[in-house]
Each structure stands twice: as structure tokens, then as C-alpha cells.
């Protein structure tokens, strides 16, 4: 029916639980009943695919893809890494979308009310499709930290949002990337929804001086891990991992 077996069970003690009162909005948006578990069927083991043809030349360049009369203000960075599965294999040809605030910590959104200014040359969204080894890369401006209405003085650390598809709907994931060395990470109620410090470290991109562009941009390396799947050895036919 399909290459390979079911996807490994999600470790619900590693992910944030639904109900996290420190992040107030979760209080009325968190399901309270137990999730219903069942083995994957083909409905979960398949997923949409996106051809490289949908990707425009500037889709992975947030410095230029909204530029009107100049380039956006802020520190130029390259974000790169690989999308892997839990077996450590690269996940090729999968869509990765990203979005973020500008250098001042302001999003281009009508519901956003932070006093930091919009940057006329910065939209804040991009996308790419992973290569054969699961690699991806994009260029952007380092986002700023910003305050948000939760506690009286809560701030988000600088971060970039990621939406990743993988090859199956069971792998669908949205997460956030943080920046190495940012003290704000450990003060954020949204980060703190993740119970395991190690899981937070894995969402923190490392400064990668070997991939900087001298006199131009620094680089951060951020690998994303999607669910892996079982060997089919004992399911229906002989296939190795």
C-alpha cells in the first residue's frame, strides 16, 4: 500500500501539553479529553507534495522578497540546516515555510499593535523545498524580541516560525526557532510550555561561523526533526530501514 510502516508514536511528554496555564490563551483552547489513538492508516501516511516549480526565485530571500525602495533594516543572517526524520535520514522534497517579525520585533499584520515600526521593505514570510539530503537555506533579517499580552511584562525571545510538511500528514509540524545565547528564551511562557529543557535546546539554532558570508551575513544552523517510521520488515514485505 505504501513504502514503510507506521510513524513512530509521538512522545507527548516531550511536546508541550495542550493545557499550559502560564500561556493564558491555551486555557480555553486546550482539549481536555484524552486523545484517541489508533495505528496510522493510509490517510495519515500520505500527505500533500509540492513541486519545486511553486518556488519563486526570491521565496527564500526575505531580504529581497518584499523590498520596495531599498533593503530592510537589521542584521543580515542566513538560516540553514536539514529536515531529518527520527531515523536520522534527510527528508527530501518537503515544503518548509517560515515567518517572523522584523528587526524591531514588529509583525506585518493588522492585528499587531506593538509600537515598534513596520519596515516598508520587510514582509516577513518565505518558503523553500528541501534538497535531496533534506537541506534547506534562506536569507533574512534577524528578528527582534517583542512584548506580548500575557503577563503584565512578558516578552517573546527573537524567533522564527517554521511550518514543515514531511511526506505524510502524520508528520505535519509547526514549531519555532530560537537563537543561541538569547537570555530571553528562558523567560518566555510560550517556550516554557515545553516541559523538557533538552527539547528547548533542540529548538535553539547554533551560531555557525563556518557558513557566514564574510562582510555580509552571519549564519545560524537549525535542524528540524520530523517523525520517523518503522521498517516494514514485520508488516508486509522485506525492506530495510
Amino acid at each position: 500500500m505504501s513504502d514503510g510502516g507506521s510513524y513512530y508514536q509521538r512522545d507527548r511528554l516531550w511536546h508541550p501539553p495542550a493545557y499550559t496555564p502560564g500561556y493564558k490563551t491555551s486555557v480555553t483552547r486546550s482539549p481536555q479529553r484524552a486523545l484517541l489513538s489508533f495505528d496510522n492508516s493510509i490517510s495519515e501516511m500520505t500527505g500533500p507534495t509540492f513541486g519545486h516549480s511553486i518556488i519563486g526565485e526570491l521565496d527564500n530571500d526575505l531580504i529581497l522578497n518584499f523590498a520596495k525602495d531599498g533593503e530592510p533594516i537589521g542584521q543580515r543572517i542566513i538560516v540553514h540546516g536539514r529536515v531529518l526524520d527520527e531515523n536520522g535520514r534527510g527528508v527530501p522534497n518537503c515544503l518548509v515555510e517560515f515567518w517572523q517579525a522584523n528587526a524591531g520585533g514588529r509583525y506585518r499584520h493588522k492585528k499587531e499593535s506593538y509600537l515598534a515600526p513596520l519596515d516598508p521593505n520587510f514582509g516577513g514570510c518565505g518558503r523553500t523545498i528541501t534538497g535531496e539530503d533534506g537541506s534547506y537555506r534562506f536569507r533574512t533579517i534577524q528578528p527582534g524580541a517583542y512584548p506580548w499580552p500575557n503577563g503584565p511584562n512578558d516578552w517573546r525571545p527573537a524567533h522564527i516560525h517554521f511550518s514543515v510538511f514531511g511526506h505524510a500528514f502524520a508528520q505535519r509540524l509547526i514549531t519555532q526557532m530560537y537563537f543561541e545565547g538569547d537570555p530571553m528564551i528562558w523567560k518566555c511562557p510560550i517556550v516554557a510550555t515545553i516541559p523538557d529543557r533538552e527539547a528547548i535546546e533542540r529548538l535553539t539554532a547554533a551560531l555557525d561561523m563556518n557558513n557566514t558570508v564574510p562582510m555580509d551575513s552571519r549564519a545560524y544552523k537549525f535542524d528540524i526533526v520530523l517523525r520517523g517510521r518503522r521498517s516494514t520488515l514485520f508488516e508486509n514485505r522485506m525492506e530495510g530501514n
Binding site: R29, R33, T46, P48, K110, L203
Partner: protein, 208 residues
């Protein structure tokens, strides 16, 4: 000490946040000119097989208030029960059908909407046919990890009665949370699928 397995851990989920639309449907939130159109807006690309239908609904929080900042995605088989995915080795799905839709919901009412086709039946692992269904995934501010559920069709009583997932739900009073009644609008069949995150009618969500 035993050998290590060497498996990696899945990246932990984080909420999609209030501005998920900037990244996933930028044209919808007035960031124009970056992408030609928002992905997932059109599921039907041409002369598609099967019955054309519309799926609408809203996502309600525990106070009964509709979310106006959610993002809903659906994934489904074509009219013959084939998925437009290279992972489906049973045959080639309708090339005029994407199988995947994404809706940001209406900014005023929160209503999501998909113009699609009614899916055919697909087999479970043991070969038994599942009832026609649509896989649904919901993210929003305040949702820490995307919620998976399924929409079944209110006019498929016989198939629903023998569906392997529906039949194993212990609390039978909760089964209707997964079944969308069929109505009509402008001559088009419309299935209304409201999703309740909490409360006595909390939708059944899946760990798949």
C-alpha cells in the same frame, strides 16, 4: 549499559501563534507580491471526477467563542479513494485534484471553507474499507501542538456504521462530533463541520 538506539527526537511543537497567516496565507493578510497565491486555496484544478461539495465550519474555544485566528488544513482522497501522494502506491489519483486544502477562516466570523469533492473510501491496514472521511488539522494561537481530527459525512450512515475508527470510540455520545451534516447552499452540497476545543461537545482529537 545497553547500546544506544541512536534515534533522534522529533522537534518539539510550538504554537503557530497569532500571525500564522503571515507565513501560511500571506496574501490573505495583505502581504501581497511575495507569493502569487496562497497555497491550498484551490483543491480542484480542472475537470475533476466526483461530486463537488463544500465544507464549512468554525473552531470554538471552551467559552463557545469562535476562533478568528485559526488555520485549518484538510487532506483527503479523491472521488475514487486515491491519495494524490507518491506514498499511495495503489494507483494514480485524479490529476485535477490536490487533496489538500488550507483555510485561514474569515477574519470577521472565523468560518473556514473548502471547495472540494466528496472522497471515495480508502482501506484500513487490514483491508477493511473506511467510511469516506477528510483528515483535519487545526493550529492557532493557544494551541501548543496541531490538533488532528477527522470529518465524516452525515449522509453515509451505512459506511459510518462499519468504519473501523468510528466503531472503536468508547463514548458513543461523542461520535457525532466527527460527523458533518449535509445541507445545501446555492445548489451546492455543503457539509458543516464545527470543531469544539473544549466543553461537553468537545470534538474527538486523535493521536496518530
Amino acid at each position: 549499559m545497553a547500546q544506544t538506539l541512536g534515534h533522534l527526537k522529533e522537534s518539539a511543537s510550538q504554537t503557530a501563534g497569532p500571525y500564522v497567516h503571515i507565513g501560511c496565507t500571506p496574501n490573505y493578510c495583505e502581504i501581497e507580491g511575495v507569493f502569487p497565491e496562497d497555497l491550498g486555496t484551490r483543491m480542484i484544478l480542472g475537470d475533476v471526477k466526483g461530486e463537488r461539495i463544500r465544507i464549512v465550519g468554525r473552531v470554538f474555544d471552551g467559552t463557545g467563542t469562535p476562533l478568528k485566528d485559526a488555520l485549518v488544513e484538510i487532506w483527503q482522497a479523491d472521488a475514487d479513494g486515491l491519495y494524490p501522494s507518491p506514498q499511495d502506491k495503489r494507483g494514480t489519483a485524479d490529476t485535477n485534484f490536490t487533496g489538500w486544502g488550507r483555510s485561514p477562516g474569515d477574519m470577521q466570523t472565523g468560518e473556514f471553507r473548502f471547495d472540494t469533492v466528496k472522497p471515495g473510501r480508502v482501506p484500513a491496514k487490514n483491508g477493511a474499507l473506511q467510511a469516506p472521511h477528510v483528515t483535519v488539522w487545526i493550529v492557532a494561537r493557544g494551541i501548543n501542538i496541531g490538533l488532528h481530527t477527522r470529518m465524516y459525512f452525515g449522509d453515509e450512515d451505512a459506511a459510518n456504521a462499519e468504519d473501523p475508527i468510528l466503531s472503536r470510540i468508547e463514548h458513543r455520545s461523542r461520535v457525532p462530533t466527527l460527523i458533518a451534516p449535509r445541507t445545501a447552499e446555492d445548489g451546492m452540497p455543503v457539509y458543516r463541520f464545527d470543531i469544539r476545543l473544549q466543553g461537553p461537545d468537545e470534538t474527538i482529537f486523535f493521536d496518530i
